[in-house]
Symmetry: C2
Subunit: 700 residues, 2 copies
């Protein structure tokens, strides 16, 4: 149901604030938030945001700079304001909720420069109860056809030196651990706050990435990001430490230009989500709502996928992606440590089939890995040539027989021009072998050389891959890509992305600290599903290599809880089948947990500390709960009021065993089965770095 | 027949020139030229070239600079010299001669740095009687895997301030008119010597492009260019005006890097062709010989093509490429000036069929032209969507019925990433409609933005298109591409290129001065066939638009002569069928002239002044002669000694009529038929800017 009505015309809500300056305002549908727009005596446009009448954003400048033309920044007069009200409910193909309500008031402001060249410029606001989105529009007009954006000058004037959950600004990577500091302490060059990531491009000490999560001293939670990033570079933020103002900055191309546009054009939405409840930030669907409805007509091929993969075994050193590197001269093929062999893949397929998984990802199946890393080389992979010990035809047949699908892997090593050229051929190759999902990878510096992972060109590439994949009936999961902005509403086959620090870092770096997964939902996952790849049961990695110091920085029970707390319709059981075989009782939760949801209830949340979420599966009646803690041991009380009153349920709790601890005793878990109803209040004890996963099913 | 024998090993020809410096030399097969190679006391490698014992190149430095590594430039010691002699004859698929002799001595020098990192470095010389070629080699070795070339430091130390036929150095265009000055007068920024070309990128006042033609005061002709430009940027030359030394400089990428290589690697050949006869420069096949044999196995689809096209009528303003621009709101399609209509194409197909032409090029057939120019926009053309008034299916059928082939046109507007992505689709579309040849175009600034037309990335693109086209059985003619370097030996389906100032400039610029076509064979065409598009009969262009001042700067007879003097297996009859209908007697020469040759005899040549060439057709016994002059009226004597003795021939001479003059009376021609034998000496009078075309056939 769509409700849309015209609210008022120009002047209706005009508030004269001085003889020259003008101001307009708009409340959200239930007046929780309020947006103010003003033009000062110099014709400079500003907006401000209030939450329950508390200022969230002080009046902040709006504008865009162009190459070889005056900026759209000042000297404006108001031409018109068009307003409307929308209240609709829509159904995502896959999602955290079956029905999503999209309710907002819109104010479309048309400005014109008072003096020559007297160009028109639009600013569109949508005011939701959970925040605002706004974007710029460039109408087609004489003197504005093709143009180059050199910078976007959107300010976010915060009210104080808030606590921020941030990663360093960077043009090429978002795989940093999160920092929790005051805004005034942000320093992207400080070794305490940054790490070396392959193909990183540092550009400013005071730069941070979005989604940026903030918390004010008086308990407001603020999230700043963007929605519908299309044909434009990613926005990052520069922190002005003196006045707590954030300034937008766009990722440049090889020449330092930001965006190449042709009028009529519009920017992505800039989003500010706000609440006095951390839970509400996670429950917000504003970013999805600001994206366009599905552009994919036939979505029948888009399904939630739980999968296994020949992947973690390479990260822990058991096997290799490449074939050649393990083949010293004269050695036979059988002495290879190559992971993606026909035999090994059949072993995974057997296990997946036995336990009801839909897919098996196979990395390292194709030639190129012997010469792929750090070379900035254009033609490394051709995406259609298996290594000689990987019989794709036989595996395709075998997978079909087993009722499991192979998942394709396209690592590009950043050679995007090369991938673009081969995309049709690569997708046809997939379909020839009955493969309907692909994990893409963009490790390393990008080609075209000088372009960046988060620049306009790559943003366009990622969308292009999703669009083309849709025409082939292929689902896409991109790694090392630009962070999502809700575009999976428009391209629901773009099922997940990495675009943050995933599980793999635990295998060969300082890893992901216990708080990491409590921050991700407030940051990276605000934009869309993440292929985090949970489910590691062998937490201590010296199991694989004696003396190996790295480990996963959670308990085993927390690994299970992540299937609920880290939303994704694509979920890996990331550890090896032989590991799961040893702990089939715990593995049972991964087998049973859903990846597509009817309902989501955020039970408890504090970024960097804890999180508890309950979700009801879309295809059935079962509920799943995930509760996780940071490095603190924690008691948690979970009232099951979301259950149907009067019904009886069985809950299976996968808990940290007494004495469990992410570092010292991470694999100690216990499983408890008990009866529950809507009136039950579960008392959970989460270990340091621990968690609890719960499966609740109706009694029959 | 291949003769290859080992000549000598290290030390065989060592000439000690001092206690520290060392020198080696190699004569050409008949000792016309001699190359000297030396290592001085600092281990700096140099080469020198002599012609009949006259110095051509004084000892000149050799070397390559790398990023983040020491240059390969000094500190070398000799490791080994391998020498060989080759004498072979090969047959090009299409060419100026049926048989090409490739005779040279080779000296492969392996150097090693005396100090750490003690890397190996190769320099390979091939010494021909008509000059030398040399290239650098980077052996695979520890510490040299992937590397970035930041500059090539090859010097060409000339002996004096020679006369040069040059165009300004530029990263993106080679469509300048030629300048004839002393080297010391070179100034690429001087308005007398340069012109505005769309998407030009000036970079240095003292920069010139190759092929660079030089003439010394004592009558030596020297041509400097390169051969086998593969996976490397084009080389240009910086003129040191003080000592007449030329220094190589490479076209950079977006980041200022020059080439991304992986050992083992090699550079293109640097070529110096030298003679005391200008004719010998044109007769040299050294550049072709330095390229690899055909990589295309099945060459049966590669054929000489004479074609007409919907093309010149757009340049002269009779019609338009785009459809939309001519359609103001409410106008009907029939009022369009759009050239590429179904009806108009049939008219061309009819004319082509009637007169025995193989192809009809149609430009402006597809959507995109309404928004293509100067926008630096990525997705302008999709190469598969005809305008609604162009029925490609019907035209494909009609062309087949008529026994003529449509020639496809792929203008990319510089959006090369976009073209790359669509290449397979575009080629499949062509084959679907029976189209086996494509003219490609790269007007405008390149995308990837920051890359240049003559950089490594574009060089690779051009080769990629040729390679892929070969797999589809498609011939390629590229416009606005890097200038050729003999690569049509390796990819004989890369049948021609523009890559210089072609006929079109006469339609809308200061044009091509009468000397232009006498310089092109000594410069641009040294690298390979040019799609110059001669055959304009309506010389004065006010015929098309009253008051239009531009004109073609030759006589009509010279237009005919160009079919012989400007070698290409792809030759357009560039004017409109209705123009040819008015002068069918002159058109007869275009109908009869061949585009593939058994034998070529350069009769007379002086760059910038005159040219006369006789060629015998490959498929028959006829000879064709083209003689042209610059802006001077000129008498020319042509002895027909190349004809078979004792045989009787009929010659048809297409001559400038008395009083003909390129400017005042360009369309005055006369046709004379006479008997000739090998003992005949033809006395020709070429008008100012005039020429003469002759068709000689055996009497039956």
């Amino acid at each position: 149901m769509l409700v849309r009505k015209w609210l008022f015309s120009l002047g209706g809500l005009l508030l004269a604030v001085s003889s020259f300056a003008q101001q307009w305002q708009m409340n959200s549908p239930t007046a929780v938030t309020r947006m103010e727009f003003s033009l000062d005596e110099r014709g400079i446009p500003r907006y401000a945001l209030y939450y329950k009448e508390k200022p969230v954003i002080y009046p902040s400048e709006l504008g865009v700079s162009l190459k070889d033309a005056p900026a759209f920044s000042r000297g404006f007069q108001m031409v018109s304001i068009d307003s409307s009200y929308t209240d609709e409910t829509w159904q995502p193909v896959l999602g955290e909720e079956k029905n999503i309500r999209n309710r907002y008031k819109e104010m479309k402001i048309t400005l014109r420069e008072q003096l020559a060249p007297a160009r028109s410029f639009n600013i569109i606001f949508r005011v939701f109860d959970d925040g605002i989105g706004f974007r710029y529009g460039f109408p087609k007009q004489a003197g504005l056809d093709d143009f180059i954006v050199t910078e976007e000058n959107t300010a976010f004037r915060l009210t104080a030196d808030h606590k921020a959950f941030w990663i360093p600004g960077d043009y090429d990577t978002n795989e940093f651990p999160y920092n929790t500091t005051r805004l005034s302490e942000v320093d992207a060059s400080d070794p305490r706050f940054t790490q070396h990531i392959h193909a990183m491009t540092f550009y400013a000490k005071n730069a941070v990435q979005t989604p940026l999560m903030l918390k004010t001293d008086d308990g407001l939670y603020i999230n700043i990001h963007e929605a519908a990033l299309v044909n434009y570079p990613a926005m990052q933020l520069l922190v002005n430490k003196k006045d707590h103002a954030l300034q937008s900055t766009l990722v440049p191309d090889a020449l330092g230009n930001k965006a190449y546009l042709q009028a009529p054009a519009q920017t992505p939405w800039r989003t500010i989500i706000v609440s006095d409840q951390a839970k509400d930030i996670l429950a917000s669907r504003m970013i999805l709502n600001l994206n366009e409805p599905s552009a994919v007509k036939n979505t029948s091929f888009i399904k939630p996928v739980k999968y296994l993969g020949i992947w973690w075994e390479m990260h822990v050193g058991k096997s290799t992606w490449d074939l050649a590197a393990t083949q010293v001269a004269g050695e036979k093929l059988k002495e290879s440590k190559h992971g993606a062999t026909t035999e090994r893949t059949k072993f995974y397929l057997d296990f997946a089939a036995k336990h009801g998984f839909q897919g098996v990802l196979v990395e390292g199946w194709n030639t190129g890995w012997e010469d792929w890393f750090g070379k900035w080389k254009e033609d490394v992979f051709d995406f259609v040539t298996p290594y000689p010990d990987y019989d794709i035809a036989e595996l395709s047949r075998y997978a079909k027989e087993k009722g499991v699908e192979l998942i394709m892997h396209h690592e590009t090593s950043g050679a995007v021009t090369s991938y673009d050229r081969r995309l049709d051929t690569a997708f046809r190759f997939m379909k020839q072998y009955g493969i309907n999902a692909v994990k893409t990878g963009y490790v390393g510096k990008v080609i075209p050389r000088g372009e960046h992972h988060d620049g306009q060109w790559m943003v366009n590439h990622i969308k292009r891959v999703a669009e083309k994949a849709a025409t082939y009936g292929i689902m896409v999961n991109s790694h090392e890509s630009v962070r999502p902005t809700g575009l999976h509403r428009t391209y629901p086959n773009y099922i997940a992305a990495e675009a943050a620090r995933g599980m793999e870092y635990n295998a060969w770096s300082s890893g992901n600290p216990p708080e990491h997964e409590t921050i991700l939902p407030f940051t990276r996952i605000m934009g869309g599903p993440m292929d985090y790849t949970p489910g590691i049961f062998r937490i201590k990695l010296d199991y694989w290599q004696p003396g190996k110091k790295e480990q996963v920085q959670t308990t085993l029970a927390k690994q299970l809880a992540l299937y609920v707390t880290l939303y994704s319709p694509l979920q890996m059981a990331a550890d090896l089948p032989e590991v799961y075989e040893e702990k089939m009782d715990a593995f049972q939760f991964i087998k049973e947990v859903s990846a597509d949801w009817d309902t989501t209830v955020i039970l408890a949340a504090e970024p960097g500390e804890y999180l508890a979420i309950a979700r009801k599966e879309k295809a059935g009646k079962d509920w799943f709960i995930g509760a996780i803690s940071d490095e603190q041991k924690r008691e948690m009380s979970i009232p099951l009021t979301f259950l149907e009153k009067g019904k009886k349920y069985t809950a299976v709790l996968y808990k940290d065993a007494p004495g469990a601890h992410w570092k010292d005793n991470p694999e100690a878990y216990s499983i408890e089965k008990r009866k529950v109803t809507a009136r039950t209040e579960l008392k959970l004890t989460l270990a340091a770095g621990g968690g609890c996963a719960i499966h609740i099913s109706e009694e029959e």
